[in-house]
């Protein structure tokens, strides 16, 4: 992949480029193989349907599911909406309690909040400082009214991996459905819906080197999970998601899953090496850099670091050749720092100093080394400019000062 002249992309949790091998498989379905996969009475339709069903099998294979249990959607946001609102609405008259967690993606939190407005009780579990939920707390929170537990596989900001098998075991024992937003987990870590007792799983294509605009929801058939569809229509996808399937996108997601399955073990090892190189390269040269979230229970392609006394957005402005994200408020209109970092108990001042560094399939060792140099140089420069760094050097405890909030 040619990258000369372009800034270095270290934001793989935001999105990933479509792998050229994926695009190659998609192309014919954008041109000569344009049929509607639901057209049952001619060759164009059959050809498209075969391709979609092959893709469905490839997705299912990556997570240990049956192809019939895969529903195509427009992406993980829709999958999460469909899982939470669909299950919530279908079972509401019998069981109306939903459990989720404070660090979930906004689309999960908002879907749960919406179900709260429709009469469900919602419990938001806290996380420990390392970003993981407490299993005893989960067990105690489940009641005979609990219909659904929705806990993400991998967090999008801090990359930590929740104990899915343990959560699944508790849910199965208690007779509660377990939904997991696995947008950041699929293709990155081994997943098995049966071993982990996952009943519903949200999948995104563009986080795993597939195209944007497509995703999937795994919906267990035995024991059967039922859900109320979000939209009305022709009853495609077992009646759960009406609408003509976008053949090229479905094929892209299938191929992306097939590649991820083949390359996961090797790629994971490579990313581990690069991530360690990045982390050690930075922390060897800079004091007071803190990692947010558990370092071991984490996908290898993520680092989330707080650079004390340096505000995140100004750091991003300085590292002009790197594309990263910040948990700082100043990158958004809300002026509130990241709710995920706040949920970990990261103090507001440190939350303002965080960067998310995401590594992926096309990240090279040269890029990592360049990133280390650029980050170290800029942090040093901005600390020289920081009155807080100056105070810290003088031994003044910043927490002891009475700041006027504004």
């Amino acid at each position: 992949m040619k990258k000369a002249g372009k800034p270095i992309y270290l934001d793989y949790q935001a999105t990933t480029p479509t792998d050229p091998r994926v695009l190659d498989v998609m192309m014919p379905f954008l041109t000569e193989k344009f049929g509607n996969p639901h057209s049952r009475n001619h060759a164009y339709g059959w050809e498209a349907e075969d391709a979609v069903e092959k893709a469905r099998s490839e997705i299912a294979a990556l997570i240990g599911a049956d192809p019939k249990e895969i529903i195509f959607t427009s992406g993980a946001t829709e999958s999460n909406n469909l899982a939470i609102k669909g299950v919530g609405r279908f079972y509401k008259d019998r069981k109306n309690h939903i459990i989720t967690c404070a660090t979930e993606h906004k689309c999960v939190l908002e879907s749960c909040r919406h179900m709260g407005q429709e009469g469900c009780e919602v419990t938001y579990l806290h996380v420990a400082k390392n970003g993981l939920i407490d299993l005893d707390n989960l067990r105690q929170t489940i009641t005979d009214q609990t219909a659904l537990v929705s806990i993400m596989g991998v967090n999008n900001e801090i990359g930590v991996i929740q104990p899915m098998a343990e959560i699944g075991a508790i849910c199965r024992e208690k007779g509660v459905f377990f939904h997991s937003d696995c947008a950041q987990a699929v293709g990155k870590i081994p997943l098995d819906v049966n071993e982990m007792n996952i009943d519903l799983m949200s999948i995104s294509a563009h986080k795993v080197y597939g195209p944007k605009g497509v995703g999937a929801l795994y919906v267990r058939r035995k024991p059967r999970v039922r859900l109320t569809p979000l939209f009305s229509g022709g009853g495609q996808e077992r009646g759960m998601r009406s609408g003509t399937l976008p053949t090229p996108l479905c094929v892209g997601l299938g191929e992306a899953c097939a590649i991820a399955g083949r390359e996961m073990a090797q790629e994971s090892e490579r990313l581990h090496y690069l991530r360690d190189r990045l982390y050690l390269g930075i922390t060897d040269q800079l004091p007071e850099v803190y990692i947010n979230g558990d370092l071991d229970q984490r996908i290898p392609g993520n680092l989330n670091l707080s650079f004390a006394y340096v505000e995140g957005e100004s750091l991003m402005m300085g590292i002009k050749n790197l594309c990263v994200s910040s948990g700082s408020a100043c990158t958004s209109a809300s002026l509130e720092p990241s709710y995920v970092l706040r949920a970990l108990g990261v103090t507001e001042d440190l939350a303002h100093t965080s960067l998310r560094l995401g590594l992926g399939r096309f990240t090279t060792e040269e890029e990592v080394d360049a990133a280390v140099d650029e980050i170290v140089t800029q942090v040093k420069k901005l600390r020289e400019l920081s009155p807080l760094w100056e105070m810290a050097q003088e031994g003044i405890d910043i927490a002891s000062i009475e700041w006027a909030a504004h």
Partner: protein, 146 residues
């Protein structure tokens, strides 16, 4: 977010970065903002016996707009009287740097910082050189409300 060239220039090449001895009688120090809010500005002025700001230094923890706003105001206050410096409006800074709406508070902070530095200097001088200044300020206030 896309920023103006002037803002980026002040961020890349901040003017007058540094610290002065805050115990020096000639120096006024303003420290405004809060780490939890994501911005803290320290602005210092060195004032001649005639009440003219001969030097200014800053250090800022904050986004690029906050750094640029404080860098710009250190340039502007040099050579000004205390009252002229206090009269700088955040809107002038916002305009000069073409701050986007969500960053206007950075210019407000810079205005607060210079006012706090002037105030600190005046407090140190307990109303001596100040009487004249105070009268001037009152006059200016009157002129504005008129």
């Amino acid at each position: 977010m896309s920023y103006s060239n002037k803002l980026i220039d002040h961020y890349d090449n901040p003017r007058n970065v540094g610290s002065m001895d805050k115990k020096d009688a000639q120096v006024g120090t303003g420290l405004v903002g809060a780490p939890a809010c994501g911005d803290v500005m320290k602005l210092q002025i060195k004032v001649t016996p005639e009440g003219i700001i001969e030097d200014a230094k800053f250090k800022t923890f904050g986004c690029g707009s906050a750094i640029a706003s404080s860098s710009l105001i250190t340039e502007w206050v040099k050579g000004k009287s205390l009252d002229q410096a206090s009269d700088i409006k955040n809107t002038e800074i916002a305009e000069e740097l073409a701050l986007p709406p969500v960053k206007i508070h950075c210019s407000v902070l810079a205005e607060d910082a210079i006012k706090a530095a002037v105030e600190d200097y005046k407090t140190k001088h307990g109303g001596t050189a100040d009487d004249a200044d105070a009268t001037d300020a009152a006059d200016a206030e009157e002129a504005r409300s008129a």
